[in-house]
Symmetry: C2
Subunit: 278 residues, 2 copies
Amino acid sequence: MLKKYIWINGKIEPADKPVVLINDIGFLRGYGIFDFMRTYNGKIFRYPEHYKRFVNSAKLLDLKVAVKEKDLEQIIYKLIKKNGLQDASVRLLMTGGPAINGILFNPATPTFAILIEDIYDLPAKLFKTGAKLMTFDYQRLIPEAKNLNYIWAVKLQEEKKKRGAIEILYTSNGEILECSTSNFFLVKKGKLITTKAGILHGITRQAVIELTKKLKLEVIERPIKVSELKTTDEVFITATNKNILPIVKIDSLKIGSGVPGPITKTLLTKFEELIKRY
Amino acid sequence: MLKKYIWINGKIEPADKPVVLINDIGFLRGYGIFDFMRTYNGKIFRYPEHYKRFVNSAKLLDLKVAVKEKDLEQIIYKLIKKNGLQDASVRLLMTGGPAINGILFNPATPTFAILIEDIYDLPAKLFKTGAKLMTFDYQRLIPEAKNLNYIWAVKLQEEKKKRGAIEILYTSNGEILECSTSNFFLVKKGKLITTKAGILHGITRQAVIELTKKLKLEVIERPIKVSELKTTDEVFITATNKNILPIVKIDSLKIGSGVPGPITKTLLTKFEELIKRY
């Protein structure tokens, strides 16, 4: 749930007050980027990495983040406090600002906002039983940029619910890419494999890769074929609001033995230790 | 240029006043649709067709247009008048409204707006000399819906200008689809050919097809291969704000003899007669 106050272009405003012009190019043309992070123990998880990714998303859309890393961090903490919270989800959002003739924008006048939201924790039970994915043939455009185009993700929410899936797994040309807001990992013969290209590189994904290496487990970043799922031992997905979520079913296919596997469970335990003392 | 007054969810508001909530799903997720029409002699060109297409776009995104055809028409004319104009461009815009938890929306509370804009007439000279297209490998998602996702179209505006092109021609898997906001026609051995599927079916495109049939010319709607361009006699594109625009160059390829062809010129003359007495 969106909390009471937002920050937009330098000002704190009530979240229920209209703040966007009808001809903002983010609204007229879906032209913009975002990032999504959360705090643990009052501290933003891997803030420098999120800032860096946001700047990169901006660059890929010819936008510029004019607020410096440290300044933005202070604004975020101030806004969380203003909302009366210690821990929260934080959404950064930037668009090209007011459109010129419906299609052009001036990079010098972007719309830049910060939204504070509740932390959406998944039911604890799901981490024990494992969850289900539904596949959908689609590749996000400019996938390395966390851009605002989530038409399919939004449109498929009903279908996802109907099928009892927790996430939508995008596949394209017989390959596994990423979920709508999560990254994909599989475990085969003790090795971890995760998609390398054509995806958004998640911050949790990177944290898991680092964790895995500390555990002396091998991680391979490479293309993954959909056909590999049949012989996979374990699957999990990673995301800011999901941490490491075991996956035991993809469409009608049972993954491994149908329960969270040992490597997934070990990583989940280690990740939980990591965030407990973050 | 956006004119002084807009209409949003039943009210006329100044266009320079923020009217959109930060968590409108059109803004957060680019989830919405639009339509774009114009008047000739104070009358909206093919309004029933535009309304029907808008309703269809809405349906494809699980949205619903609650304002009836005749009522909306009256609102539009009232808004044009309020802006002190007789002729104008009209943009209808609908999104899923305020987002729930960042990704869900309630179809019962959409954001629905009408924007009045100047008519962007292209320089008359271009219709005599013909214009240039640049190609780009991309297919719009849910192409039959005039959805808000124009990230590539916006991002490519600079490149388009640099290359001296008037429009971006989307191609995919060796086939020609459509331009960023126009439809594509070619003429070969006296016959017209235009893409049938995977595109937005333009209102001007349909008007041209009807005009062509009246002239006893054959029109074939079918997939078009990029490789066919080499042996094409004429090319033109159609759009609300372009009418029928002759194309004489695509990337570095000269089309036909490099000047607007006879069939294109005949159609353009007939179309101009049609709108003069509309």
